[in-house]
């Protein structure tokens, strides 16, 4: 009744169920591990069912004999991929949406491939012809997807390497990698007589090398300054007081502010904070903005140390009886650098007990008042 193949998979199913029971009882009673093991059991049970249904793919006595000259069918990996996909779908439903979607993609891809392959293998008795029509159907899908996956793996792997090594090493690696690609590409272009196997071998070796480096770098984690910067929340820029962090984007000011449409330029020079409004050719300590409208200013640091500009924009009630200040600020601005800051003040000045101001944390006695009529 049971075929050898189905016996194998049924055995595996029983074994995995037993292991999952033992795992839950002795190792970890949480759901995660058991779900993974039971998902494997479901997969092997499915394979057992398939083996039983098609009698391990053997031609039984009494079946129609293959036509003369017919070549044996090729083995197919798609049942296995479909099983993995199915397991992923089930496991994903219980664990994480990403697992579910990866499983679903694998299941759909296997279904399409399996369908087309089965169809093409029965198209004629000529194996070469069958393979060609399969290619015509599937290569327009397979090649772009494979290229996308391949490039994705290389890009992600390379980015992991760059995030793991120091900034200096990163620059060197980038130069070497770029030079190597240029050199190898030039050789391939100049020597078209090179053996195809050699070209493929070099490309595969390079791709595998990058992927392996990426896996190693990812398991090693981010370099120290990035880890610290993440802990200091500098990527989300939450620091509006005196800078207490060590790692942040020192070049955040860039040059984009030069192209921004600004209503005032705030400058810190020799410890003095001054403002210059659009269209008015004189410095001032008071600037006026319309309410409820985005206003963009530029902060220019002409002082002798890195500082930031902080805008006090009134207060807001965060819960009953609790009021907190609304602040906005630039990042730390290097000497002779600048950054744009955009904010909106909804209420007129009279709505705030304290005037709206622009200040530089750590610099006493200097502020620009923002008047909102």
């Amino acid at each position: 009744m049971f075929t050898p193949g189905s016996k194998l998979f049924l055995g595996l199913t029983g074994f995995v169920i037993a292991v999952s029971v033992i795992y839950v009882a002795l190792v970890d009673s949480s759901v995660g591990g058991a779900v993974a093991l039971l998902s494997v059991a479901i997969g092997t049970a499915l394979l057992a069912g398939l083996s039983l249904f098609n009698r391990d793919g053997e031609v039984a006595v009494g079946d129609v004999a293959a036509p003369a000259g017919a070549e044996p069918l090729t083995s197919s990996m798609w049942p296995l991929v479909a099983t993995v996909g199915f397991v992923g779908v089930v496991a994903g439903l219980l664990t994480h949406p990403i697992v579910f979607f990866l499983g679903l993609i694998a299941l759909l891809a296997a279904g399409v491939e399996w369908l087309i392959q089965s169809w093409s293998e029965g198209a004629s008795s000529d194996k070469t012809y069958n393979a060609s029509i399969r290619g015509r159907m599937l290569h327009p899908l397979e090649f772009p997807v494979l290229a996308l996956v391949g490039l994705g793996v290389i890009i992600i792997s390379f980015s992991r390497v760059m995030l793991a090594v120091s900034k200096d090493a990163g620059a060197i690696i980038f130069i070497i990698a770029g030079a190597a690609v240029l050199f190898v590409g030039s050789v391939f272009a100049l020597k078209p007589s090179l053996k195809k196997t050699l070209v493929v071998g070099v490309c595969v070796a390079g791709a595998v090398g990058v992927a392996a480096s990426g896996i190693a770098a990812a398991s090693n984690g981010l370099r120290d300054d990035l880890v610290k910067a993440k802990k200091e929340h500098h990527f989300s820029h939450k620091e509006c007081g005196e800078e207490e962090g060590e790692h942040f984007d020192h070049l955040a000011e860039g040059t984009i502010s030069l192209r921004s449409n600004v209503v005032a330029t705030i400058e810190l020079r020799d410890g003095k904070l001054t403002a210059r409004e659009l269209g008015v050719d004189k410095v001032t300590q008071t600037i006026t903005f319309p309410r409820s409208n985005d206003a963009t200013i530029i902060f220019r640091n002409k002082d002798e140390k890195e500082v930031r500009l902080t805008a006090f924009l009134g207060t807001k009630a965060v819960q009953d009886g609790v009021v907190e200040e609304v602040l906005n600020c630039t990042q730390m601005i290097g000497i002779d650098h600048e950054q744009a800051l955009t904010f909106k003040i909804a209420k007129p000045s009279m709505a705030s007990d304290k005037p709206y101001t622009l200040t530089v944390p750590g610099l006493e006695g200097q502020s620009i008042e923002i008047m909102v009529p």
């Binding site: 209503v263 008071t286 309410r291 985005d294 963009t296 909804a346 007129p348």
Partner: protein, 399 residues
């Protein structure tokens, strides 16, 4: 001359005469051919000769075409000799227009640079457009007597003979500010600040119109610039720097203040208005209006229009008296504001009764899903006639 030709000539002459006479409108406050300020005159100095040149060329071309149509019309004559190419004529007809355009271009560029000059600015006004009204705020400028910021809407007041820089922006969509008698137009774009310089030679009220389609009530988004003598401007500033005073107890206006606090202060600010507990009443248009702003009404009756300058606060007779005043008397008449006798109660009451019925706005609560329930314009507040009486009495005190 045949009957047919006589008809054509008569028709063309009639059309030309009609067009010509159409330019003689008596009441044309947005006439671009009557500049009243430096920049408008700079534009006029360019457009007059360009128009003359274009007109002459237009007349020559039109006459040539008409001549050819008549002279060479098909009368069954034999096909004339066919020639190809007249190099001298072709080169000449290419070079001549190029030279004319180059000449116009030189003066146009010079005009553009002249108009963009801001270095000698004497006063600054922030101009903010939103659907469908203009807000003006004056930064503190002690040298102009403005010791604290001033905010108003609809009508912008400037001192005569003063180079005023407008810093234009918008809170919602693109608008365009244009007072034809004082300068060209300039777009007010959300997120950007554009500058435009104005000045007026003589005291007067100069009308304008938003010139960038900005939605449902674009046609009702009007504005005026009122130029006052320096003394009158100082008086206007002094008045604007004061807060509104609460009406006397047990008056209709005092009851109207209560209605205002109940209904209107959600969007409209009146500086100096206090709640029952004595704390300042702060409007929250940012929570109720899509643009985040509604006109400040502290000195509503000091201006003589409302609702985006679409309607007059002055009765027709009083309006004619102020708008038709000479440059010597317009300042005094304007500063008198809107008296009880001159108040256009009809339009003000209609507005309070159902604003969207007078000026199309997106104010139907059932249709505000795209703006998260916020209004674009003033909604129908469902006020009773009693409330309207009280409100009119209160608003009349906001001088």
């Amino acid at each position: 001359m045949s009957t047919k030709i006589r008809r054509i000539v008569a028709g063309v002459s009639g059309l030309a005469a009609t067009s010509f006479l159409a330019g003689c409108a008596k009441d044309a406050p947005q006439d671009t051919w009557q500049p009243k300020g430096t920049n408008a005159k700079i534009i006029d100095d360019l457009q007059q000769p360009v128009f003359a040149i274009a007109g002459v060329i237009g007349v020559i071309v039109t006459c040539a075409v008409i001549y050819c149509i008549i002279k060479f019309r098909d009368r069954g004559q034999a096909m004339p000799e066919q020639t190809h190419g007249k190099p001298a004529l072709e080169i000449g007809m290419t070079i001549l227009p190029a030279l004319i355009l180059a000449g116009v271009g030189v003066f146009t560029f010079r005009t553009v640079f002249d108009l963009s000059k801001t270095s000698d600015t004497q006063m600054v006004v922030n101009v903010t457009g939103q659907q469908w009204w203009w807000e003006y705020d004056y930064p503190a400028q002690p040298e102009m007597g403005i010791t604290a910021p001033i905010i108003t809407s609809g009508q912008m007041i400037i001192p005569v003979g003063t180079k005023v820089l407008l810093r234009e922006t918008s809170r919602d969509v693109i608008h365009s500010y244009w007072i034809p008698a004082l300068n060209g137009k300039r777009d007010a774009v959300p997120g950007r600040v554009h500058t435009l310089r104005l000045d007026a030679d003589k005291p007067g009220i100069y009308a304008g119109q938003c010139t960038e389609f900005c939605g449902l009530s674009h046609a009702n988004m009007r504005m005026e610039t009122v130029a006052l003598s320096k003394e009158d401007f100082a008086a206007w500033v002094a008045n604007q720097l004061t807060n509104a005073k609460s009406p006397a107890e047990k008056t209709l206006a005092k009851e109207g203040e209560g209605v205002f606090l109940n209904q209107c202060v959600r969007c409209h600010q009146v500086n100096g208005l206090k709640k029952a507990d004595g704390t300042p009443a702060i409007a929250a248009p940012d929570e109720n209006v899509w643009s985040g702003a509604a006109p400040n009404l502290t000195h509503l009756m000091s201006r003589n229009t409302f609702a985006g300058a679409s309607f007059d606060l002055l009765s027709p007779k009083c309006r004619a008296d102020v708008w038709g005043a000479s440059s010597e008397t317009v300042g005094k008449k304007y500063l008198a504001g809107v008296s009880e006798e001159c108040l256009n109660q009809t339009d003000l009451r209609r507005w309070l009764r159902n604003a969207p019925a007078m000026k199309p706005m997106y104010a139907d609560p059932a249709k505000l899903t795209s703006t998260n329930g916020k209004y674009r314009g003033m909604p129908n507040l469902g006020l009773t006639e009693d409330d309207i009486d009280k409100l009119v009495a209160y608003l009349s005190t906001l001088k």
